[in-house]
Every structure is written in structure tokens, then in C-alpha cells.
């Protein structure tokens, strides 16, 4: 439009550019609305005392903290016997925390061997580990269920409905990509550092623990956070392996709101969903640059 009507005016180029920016800003508003509407909606729902899907509006008619009280079983008029929110949150943090720490330990040590030691079958084994992880353990769901059941028949503390059993399964699936990432970072640390340690007569483990691990700390934190969030958000393994409401993780627990009359528990669900999502959201947004780096490190290489 600008080009046809005012072709000769000084600054038409500039005007065109401004117009383009303006149009893109308007589009951005719509895109942002699309992106954050569910979040706004759930925030509003969590403060809407009516607790109902059918009557909720963006600005709650009866605003208040009732839903949060109900979520923590502080409202005697709200009967939802299976609700134990703190317990679920605690279970989630416990399971994800332990799995993350253990899997970091296992993968970092393995990555050290792949990066620093030379042994027959090294490349083959690394390829094999990567190849195996092609198949998500979701596909072997039934077998995993049966195996954990059998474990439980022998050692009840590792069986169905135990967190230890679930953690073991998470550990089994944690090797592949993380070893690959970690080995990549270890490879960037100069060998001279190892050699300086060797000259001083340090053992491999002393070099790993005393010299390399401190240098790995930033990447350990990023991989650790990603892995924690991943486990925290897992649904299906927890869903099939945990059978008792008190053992549920948060994701499994939130799902039971949808059973029966979801629309009558909407506000309480919203409060629970918001509390469960906020820590993860904040972590992501604060660390977005590091995380984006970690995400693309595997594939987009220059």
C-alpha cells in the first residue's frame, strides 16, 4: 500500500519497515494470546470460589482462596477423599530427585570412561547404547510391568506400587542420550588437565573427582534440571507402576480429577495444576538460554 501511493516520498522505505513491524506486533499479540490464554484461564479458575467449569469467567465472580483450601483438605464441605496433594508433590520431588542424582552419577562416570579411557569395543558399545535408546521404554510397558511385579514377589520393597521400583525403571532408561551429551562436553575439556594430575600420581578416580567434575558442574546442573523436569512430568510409567493413591506422583494424582465430574472439581484442579507447574515454568524461563543450548547441542551443530 505504501509503495503504490507514495512511491517517491522520502522515507517510504522507512515507513514500509515501520508498517511491517507494526503488523508483526499485532500478530504477536494474537500469538501471545493463543500461547498464554490457558495459563491465564487456569490462574483465574484457581481463584474462582465457585469451583465450576461451567460458570467460570476470566475475572472470577467470587474471587477467593477457597480452591487452595480445598486442595489442602481444609474445606470440610468439599468431599474428595482421594485427594492428598502434598503427598503427591512430595512423592514427585522425591522420585525425580533421587532418579536424577543417581542417573547423573551413572551417566557421568560412564561418559568419563568413553571420553578418557581407551578400550576394545568402545565405539561399538557407545553405538549400541545409543541404538537401544531408540526404542522408548514406553513400548515395552507390559514387560516392565511384569518385571516389576516379579521383583515385588521376591523383594516387596522393589515391587509394584513402590517408588524404588519406579526409580529403577527410570534409571534403566536414562543412559543413552545423556551419556552422549556428557561425553561431548568431556571431550571439550583439554587432556592436559588429566595429564597434570597423572604426573602428580593421581588415580583415574582422583582425576575424575578432583579435576574434571568441578569443570563439569555447569553442564551437570543443566542436564540435571532437564532430567528432573522430565521425570517430574512423566506420566505413563508412574501411572501403571503405582497403584495406591498415596503413592501417586503429582502427574498421576492430577489425572484423577478428570474421573467423574471434572467440571465440579475444576477450580481445585486449577489450583493444583498451577502449584505443580509454577516451579517448572520459572526454572525454564530463567534458564531458557542454557536449556535451548542443551536442546540443540545434539543435532544443530555448526
Amino acid at each position: 500500500m505504501s509503495k503504490q501511493i507514495q512511491p517517491n516520498l522520502f522515507g517510504s522505505q522507512k515507513f514500509q519497515k515501520k508498517l511491517s513491524v507494526a503488523i508483526r506486533l499485532v500478530i504477536a499479540v494474537f500469538l501471545i494470546l493463543f500461547a498464554i490464554f490457558p495459563v491465564l484461564w487456569i490462574i483465574s479458575a484457581s481463584f474462582d470460589n465457585s469451583n465450576s467449569l461451567a460458570t467460570q469467567s476470566l475475572i472470577p465472580a467470587q474471587a477467593g482462596l477457597k480452591n487452595y483450601q480445598r486442595l489442602f483438605n481444609m474445606d470440610p464441605n468439599f468431599a474428595f477423599s482421594d485427594l492428598s496433594y502434598w503427598r503427591w508433590l512430595f512423592n514427585s520431588v522425591k522420585v525425580s530427585g533421587i532418579s536424577t542424582l543417581l542417573s547423573l552419577a551413572l551417566t557421568t562416570m560412564a561418559a568419563y570412561a568413553f571420553s578418557r579411557l581407551r578400550f576394545a569395543g568402545r565405539v561399538t558399545l557407545l553405538k549400541a547404547i545409543l541404538l537401544i535408546q531408540v526404542f522408548p521404554n514406553l513400548l515395552a510397558l507390559i514387560a516392565i510391568y511384569v518385571i516389576i511385579f516379579q521383583f515385588g514377589e521376591i523383594i516387596p520393597a522393589l515391587g509394584l506400587n513402590t517408588h524404588a521400583g519406579l526409580i529403577m525403571v527410570y534409571l534403566g532408561g536414562s543412559m543413552g542420550m545423556n551419556i552422549w551429551l556428557m561425553k561431548g562436553f568431556l571431550d571439550t575439556i583439554p587432556r592436559a588437565i588429566d595429564e597434570s594430575g597423572m604426573v602428580d600420581g593421581a588415580s583415574n578416580f582422583q582425576i575424575f573427582w578432583g579435576l574434571l567434575l568441578p569443570l563439569l558442574r555447569p553442564i551437570l546442573v543443566v542436564i540435571g534440571i532437564l532430567s528432573f523436569i522430565g521425570t517430574y512430568g512423566d506420566f505413563i510409567l508412574a501411572r501403571i507402576l503405582l497403584t495406591d493413591v498415596n503413592q501417586y506422583t503429582l502427574m498421576v494424582g492430577l489425572q484423577i480429577f478428570t474421573a467423574g465430574q471434572f467440571d465440579k472439581k475444576w477450580g481445585v484442579f486449577a489450583a493444583g495444576a498451577l502449584l505443580g507447574a509454577l516451579p517448572v515454568m520459572i526454572t525454564y524461563l530463567t534458564l531458557q538460554d542454557q536449556i535451548a543450548g542443551g536442546l540443540t547441542a545434539g543435532a544443530v551443530k555448526e
Binding site: 578400550f119 514387560a143 518385571i147 514377589e153 467440571d263 484442579f269 540443540t296 544443530v300 555448526e302
Partner: protein
């Protein structure tokens, strides 16, 4: 090779202290003891496969921790152990299950099922041998006083073993004129008429399964039950002692020629039956074709839509000096930062056909709103919409990263050659971008191919396909169908065998797509090169 040898020497050269050797051996001894205990327990329970896997892992640990040459593997022993136990073994076990009839009615092994079958008893005609008197406790439990033809008397309380007893024994009252105790501690004697008209009494089997079992056969007589079935190992058949019927082992169920069966059945290898069923059974074929087609349509559209939107955003806001760039990016990233389980459930509420906010708005504006959860078409649209919301920020992240790596002089050269904006996009941006993010698109396809969480949490696979013999819906993909078969038993009960067979089909599809991806990227060569 020379380096390998030199390195190996160095492992030993970094000489271990005696304490460390001691610790290492102690660790292995401790581990072996635990493993031996575990394997023995597993064998008792008939978990043969599990015992073998633990055996293999134990052997591996011993080799790794005892052989000096295996030193580098000590760094990854536990990781490899978990990998074998919870990734490799489940795959192998899935393959095994796929060739069996494992599922409801066939949950036990043969060795577990036969003793159960041999415990089934029957009441023989004319085998009367006791006269009886009944007692009843206030909470509805029964007891019998039995006298056999030789005059020996027995007391049998419900669910307890039968014991020889005499009137006047501890807990047993004194004899009446006929030699029957007038009372039993905790029970009250029933008179003949009451006992004969009692409705539950004739059904109760007194005694325990392993010992003698007695049941009332007439108003005055009770008989010892006899074992009904005898298993013959040599011919692998079961003979009915009551009428002489012969039951043959038909794929894990003992069956007569005219089709009578004995429960429980047991797990048995049935060859390709599950795969044949998967491909040919008319009851399955209808829903399966629908599910298969959708299983490819869903990830294809998802990848295309998320990639297009993500790329459009990346291009629109790529200029370095675009106002509020950082803020826009952060806000658009929000869908990616919330655990998807939570957002899927939020969308489930928002797209509720009756009460959801989307439909309330649409109804106000147009007087009509799509029946998201009711009609197959709209359910699929809803799933795709939610997945677009979930997936575009990731695509935005990776494409904007890749866009920055395209050299700007390429665009300048193209502009000089007179290429317009669209031409520059199709000839430069898109091809170069696809090289960089192509593997990620394939990975995203594979992820959505098995996106169980979305389908299950958002809509549970619904709306249901009418006339399907097993639970199946129009938005079901294979993995959610597998879940229904294995865990959400409805009607036919759980079918681990068939579900595993479908999992194997999924293994193959996912495996071939990913292998293609590996060939396409340089990842594979990098593993080989980065020595």
C-alpha cells in the same frame, strides 16, 4: 592397538592400594551372595527368565570387577546393569510375550496352574460316609460335627482343618443322649429342621483345600469330596475322575473334544497367533485400520503444523532490533515450560463440549460450537489443535537457532540476482533449514507417533468406535490401543500377548524411522570419528 595396550598397562600401573582391592572383592562377594539369594527365590516362583537375566548381570559384574583388563567397564557397570535389566530385557521379554497367550485366563505358568486344577474337588454320588450336626456362630460361620460309620467323631469349623474330637474336649460341650455335643464354643447348635432348611450350608466346603474336604450331600449325610482332575504328564492330558472325560492341552487351556474347558488356563507359546490375529481377525480389523491410518496422519499433521508455526514465528521476529523481541519470545515459550500432563488436562477442561470456555465463547458468538468430545472429526481436530499449542514453541526454539546459522551473504547474492522474498525462502531458507533441523523433525514425528500422554489424558482415545470388540476410539493410536488391551480391561479382559505383538510392530516402525534418521545425520560417523 598400541595405545590400547599402553592404556591397559596404565590402568594396572595406577596401582591399587590393598585396601581398594579388598573393598572391590568384598563388594563382589556381597553382590554375588545377594544375586544367588535372588535367583534362588526367582526360581522358586517360576520366574525363570528373570533368574537368567540376573544371572547374566551377575556374571558380567564378576568379570568386570575381577579382571584387570575390564577396568574401563567398572566406570559403567551399574549403568549397564540397569540398561540390561530395564531396557534390553523388557524388549526381549516383550518379544517372548508376543508369542504367548499371556493375559486373562492365562496368567499362570503351567507348573502353577496344574496344582490348582488338581485341587478342584467334587461330591461323589453315593459316597456318603458321615452323619452330621450343624452349629452356627453369631457372625454367620458354620461348624459341623461328623460321625463316621465306625463311630469316630470329628469337628470341622468353616475354613479350618478338620480335627478328630470327642464331646467334652476343650471348647466342645458335653454329649447329649445321642452322643452329639450340645454346644461348641462360639457356636450355637442348629436343630435338624433349621439345619436342613438352611440355604448356605449345602454349598460350604468344610476343611481346607490341601486336606480332606467335606460337604453336605443329603439332610442327614455328609461326604468327603474327591479330587476331580488328575493330570497325566506323559500324555499332557487331564482326566475327569467323575465322568471319565479326557481334556487335551489346547493352547494353554485343558479342553475336551466337545469344547468343555477347565479354569485356570496357563501361559503357553502360541507361535504367530497374536500376529495373525492382529492382521486378519475381522473383529480387530475394523478398528485397527482406523487406528493405523490415524496413527500416521496425526504425527504428520502435528509435525507440519508445529514446524510451520514455529518457523513463521522465528522468521517474523528474527531481526536483531525487533522491538520487545525478548519479551515476545519468552511469552511464546510458555506452553513449552509447563509439564505437558498439566496443560493437556487444562485443555481437556477448556475444550469440554458442554461447559468449556472455548465452546461458551463460540456459542455466544456464532450460536454453534464443535462437539469436540462427541464427534470423531472434531475430536481429531481438537487433538491436533492441542498438540499445535504444545509443540510450536519447541519448533520456534530450534528453527530460530538454525536460522541464525544461515550465512547472510547468501541472501545478498540472491537479492542481487533478483530473487524475491518467497523465492529466497524456498531456495535458501527452507533447504538449509531442513538440513539442520530435519533430524529433529523426524524425532518429533517419532515422538508423536507414540504420543500416548496426549491421546490418553486429553480424550482417552474417544469417541469410541462402535462395534469394536475391544475398547478402541477414533483418536486412539496404536500405543494407546496397546494400553487399553493390557491395562484397561473391558469385556475381554487383559490381553498381554496381543498387546505385546502390536508393541513389536511399533518397535519395527520406530526403529526403521530412527535408523533412517541416523543415516541422515552425521551422528553415527561422529561416534566413530571422535576417537
Amino acid at each position: 592397538m598400541a595405545t590400547t595396550a599402553g592404556q591397559a598397562k596404565r590402568f594396572q600401573a595406577s596401582s591399587e592400594s590393598p585396601l581398594s582391592v579388598l573393598l572391590r572383592v568384598a563388594l563382589i562377594v556381597f553382590f554375588d551372595a545377594g544375586a544367588a539369594w535372588f535367583i534362588q527365590k526367582a526360581l522358586v516362583q517360576d520366574f525363570i527368565q528373570l533368574a537368567i537375566v540376573i544371572g547374566i548381570i551377575t556374571l558380567m559384574f564378576n568379570l568386570i570387577f575381577l579382571l584387570p583388563k575390564a577396568y574401563p567397564f567398572r566406570w559403567m557397570a551399574f549403568g549397564l546393569g540397569f540398561l540390561i535389566l530395564f531396557t534390553i530385557y523388557p524388549m526381549v521379554f516383550t518379544i517372548y510375550i508376543a508369542f504367548t497367550n499371556y493375559g486373562d485366563g492365562h496368567l499362570l505358568t503351567k507348573d502353577q496352574a496344574i496344582p490348582l486344577i488338581e485341587k478342584i474337588k467334587y461330591l461323589p454320588e453315593g459316597g456318603a460316609s458321615y452323619s452330621w450336626t450343624a452349629y452356627k456362630s453369631p457372625d454367620g460361620k458354620y461348624a459341623l460335627w461328623l460321625v463316621d460309620p465306625d463311630g469316630n467323631s470329628f469337628l470341622c469349623k468353616q475354613d479350618e482343618p478338620i480335627i478328630a474330637a470327642k464331646p467334652g474336649d476343650p471348647g466342645v460341650g458335653a454329649a447329649d443322649s445321642k452322643g452329639i455335643p450340645a454346644s461348641v464354643e462360639g457356636y450355637e447348635r442348629l436343630n435338624k429342621l433349621l439345619a436342613a432348611s438352611d440355604k448356605t450350608l449345602p454349598d460350604i466346603k468344610f476343611g481346607t483345600e490341601d486336606g480332606i474336604t467335606v460337604q453336605i450331600s443329603t439332610p442327614s449325610l455328609a461326604s468327603a469330596l474327591q479330587v476331580r482332575y488328575k493330570y497325566d504328564l506323559a500324555s499332557d492330558t487331564v482326566v475327569d475322575q467323575e465322568n471319565g472325560d479326557i481334556y487335551l492341552n489346547e493352547r494353554g487351556t485343558f479342553t475336551t473334544k466337545d469344547g468343555k474347558t477347565i479354569k485356570p488356563g496357563f501361559r503357553e507359546v502360541v507361535g504367530l497367533e497374536n500376529f495373525v490375529n492382529f492382521l486378519t481377525s475381522p473383529a480387530l480389523r475394523g478398528p485397527l485400520v482406523t487406528i493405523m491410518v490415524w496413527n500416521f496422519v496425526f504425527p504428520t499433521i502435528s509435525v507440519l503444523s508445529t514446524f510451520s508455526l514455529g518457523l513463521a514465528i522465528a522468521i517474523m521476529y528474527n531481526d536483531k532490533d525487533f522491538p520487545l523481541k525478548k519479551l515476545i519470545r519468552t511469552l511464546l515459550l510458555i506452553p513449552y515450560t509447563i509439564p505437558s500432563v498439566i496443560t493437556i488436562l487444562i485443555w481437556r477442561g477448556m475444550l469440554n463440549t458442554e461447559f468449556g470456555v472455548i465452546n461458551r465463547i463460540l456459542n455466544d458468538m456464532f450460536g454453534w460450537a464443535p462437539p469436540w468430545t462427541v464427534e470423531a472429526f472434531w475430536a481429531r481436530v481438537a487433538v491436533l489443535l492441542v498438540n499445535l499449542w504444545l509443540g510450536f514453541p519447541y519448533m520456534m526454539l530450534v528453527t530460530s537457532g538454525a536460522l541464525q546459522s544461515i550465512p547472510s551473504d547468501l541472501y545478498e547474492a540472491a537479492t542481487i540476482d533478483g530473487a524475491g522474498g518467497w523465492r529466497r525462502f524456498t531456495a535458501i531458507t527452507l533447504p538449509l533449514l531442513l538440513v539442520a533441523v530435519g533430524p529433529l523433525l523426524i524425532a518429533s514425528f517419532v515422538f508423536n507417533f507414540n504420543n500416548f500422554g496426549l491421546i490418553y489424558l486429553f480424550i482417552g482415545g474417544g469417541p469410541p468406535i462402535a462395534g469394536a470388540s475391544t475398547q478402541a476410539g477414533y483418536t486412539d493410536i496404536l500405543i494407546s490401543y496397546v494400553y487399553n488391551l493390557a491395562f484397561a480391561s473391558s469385556g475381554r479382559g487383559v490381553q498381554y500377548g496381543l498387546a505385546s505383538a502390536i508393541s513389536i510392530v511399533l518397535f519395527f516402525i520406530v526403529g526403521s524411522i530412527t535408523l533412517f534418521q541416523y543415516r541422515y545425520t552425521r551422528m553415527w560417523e561422529e561416534v566413530s570419528e571422535n576417537v
